[in-house]
Subunit: 340 residues, 2 copies
DNA sequence: CTGAAAGCGCTTACAG
DNA sequence: CTGAAAGCGCTTACAG
């Protein structure tokens, strides 16, 4: 910067100011500085900047369960958008859940302006650490454990209701919910929306199988356990797509049931894979565009001013995408349909 | 640090030295400092450190084609390992390939000690920029365009040869290679190993279908184009797993062929999904553990000393995992087998 | 609107 | 082995 200043015959102060839109400089001066800077390929050193301003333009991103393809997708697209807004993304990844905290520690030493949590498993202990280090947390696609903090997610209850309506409208009467991680807000909300609407509309309370996690394997083993569910079943709503995909294969391989002939199955997320011919999964799309947009906007605000009032951003779910894992049921043989 | 020094009754210099293993301090002093530091939750400010040392302990990671599940997996596991070694990972992601350069620019302003390239599409222009900015590039699972730079990948030619041997040993005679991105070293090497070995062993030169990319969709459309391949075909080697998965579905949906009854198909990578019941893909595993270990080790070296002699790290491919997309061929009806 | 000066939190010759 | 001092590349009151 000193060199640039000399080159332009100005003081370092003036040059510095040219890089801050809100600083007071003659418009001509600013233009001249910026022009010469790009010519020379000069950029202010962000470390020096951070040292003084206490702002890093860094957003920390905590990821863990990347067996769910939903997250890598979100992670890269979000990163691209954040970079477009001039922020950089620093990653904290941990294979074992107990190492998340260590990864977060290291991350925090770089004083991120904020932290985006893309993991189901971040401990509230780690969250506290972030806040104490002055980095507010944005929870993407979930709520924080304590209900505080910033959140961006879709209206999962409404999503659950829509699935219930869809299944009931197409003639299903015996519903099952495949639950994933019980502590996850997404799981709870989808379940509530689905089960309550079913009851509202006069059906039996849907039975629930605990898959336990948001993974293919969990879904698969839940599929095997469909045999233990008492009574008939013709419509299944899974906590998300990857669970649904595992579930369907478990139910087919293990129990010899056909989907959708014996059983309709609906997922949640509309990950890319859901549209592949091997799965053709009926599912509810997440409003990803809107969710990411809201997240980036919130990030920019937080980078400017860390002390905003926490708020939850709820976005209506996307469309229900009808593919080949569901089909209408007729009730000619009401009493025996879908028996195994 | 000033506070810590005062607290301990030492000079800032001494405290500072305690944090550098190679610095000269009385062992007792160092211990005292480190102990008090953890008590107070103090860590040296990395920005200030970087400002002076010109080292950031940051590794930049360039990612782009995350439609291939191989990469997210590698990305997070690698990140976890690098963090374990005290380095932090900063991401550069671009949805559109032409925006990669911009993302890299932003990344470089944080002066990463090195850049790990997890993308097939990084321009050599961007590579130059990195090197000019003092950040050597490690190419993971590929070579750099100009053959310079550091590389860590498995012996793809050997992998290709093994697939050829496997197919030939199990009775296949009419081989096809499904090529992905033609400029990718992995693609070229796998193809060379496969095709040359086939010829060495007395078969016709395998025919090649150009899928064009390392994606599901590319594989799918290549599957549709199997109809145009002249002559019989009984064994197919796809550039990687995700292409193979797409290919199989294309060939089944579009042409009504059965895998493996009509056609054996082999992939490369052994991504998690390859083991799922819906795919059960026969494939060659990447020696991921070794590749990641080599990468982390190289990263640590480069962080210490940027000016190492570029070198390529070749690791033998992993095992061929036999699943359900391949089966032995008998030659009772040698002349007509696998005709369509 | 611009410049001189202090200072962000560290490291590292240099002197002892 | 330890401390005083300079300096890394910036920003920002303060004065003009």
């Amino acid at each position: 910067m000193k060199d640039l200043a000399k080159d332009l015959g100005m003081s370092v102060s003036t040059v510095s100011r040219a890089f801050y839109p809100e600083a007071i400089v003659a418009e001509k001066t600013r233009e001249a500085v910026l022009k010469r800077a790009t010519e020379l390929g000069y950029r202010p050193n962000p470390f020096a900047q951070s040292l003084i301003t206490k702002k890093s333009q860094i957003v920390g991103m905590v990821v863990s369960d990347l067996t769910n393809p939903f997250y890598p997708e979100v992670m890269t697209r979000l990163t691209a958008k954040l970079q477009g807004a001039g922020m950089n993304v620093m990653l904290a990844a941990a294979n074992e859940p107990d190492k998340t905290d260590e990864a977060v520690d290291l991350l925090l030493s770089y004083q991120p302006d904020l932290v985006i949590v893309l993991a189901v498993t971040l401990s509230s202990h780690a969250q506290e650490k972030c806040e104490k280090a002055g980095a507010p947390c944005i929870f993407f696609n979930r709520l924080s454990a304590d209900g505080l903090g910033f959140g961006v997610s879709c209206d999962n209850e409404e999503g659950g209701r829509r699935v219930a309506d869809f299944l009931i409208d197409s003639g299903h009467r015996d519903l099952v919910y495949i639950s994933a991680f019980p502590g996850a807000s997404t799981n709870v909300e989808r379940q509530n929306g689905f089960c309550r609407r079913a009851v509202e509309r006069g059906l039996e309370e849907p039975r629930v199988i605990e898959a336990g996690y948001f993974t293919y394997e969990a879904g698969y083993s839940a599929g095997l356990r469909m045999a233990d569910v008492p009574g008939p079943a013709d419509g299944v709503f899974c906590a998300n797509d990857i669970v649904a995909i595992g579930f369907i294969e478990g139910v087919q391989e293990g129990l010899g049931l056909r989907v959708p002939e014996d059983l309709s199955v609906v997922g949640f997320d509309d990950i890319t894979m859901a549209g592949w011919p091997s799965h053709k999964l009926t599912t509810i799309a997440q409003p990803l565009q809107e969710m990411m947009k809201a997240t980036v906007q919130l990030s920019v605000e937080l980078a400017r001013e860390r002390h905003l009032e926490p708020r939850i951003n709820r976005i209506p779910p996307g469309e229900l995408v009808q593919r080949s894992t569901t089909m209408p049921r007729s009730h000619a043989k009401e009493d025996t349909h879908a028996e195994r």
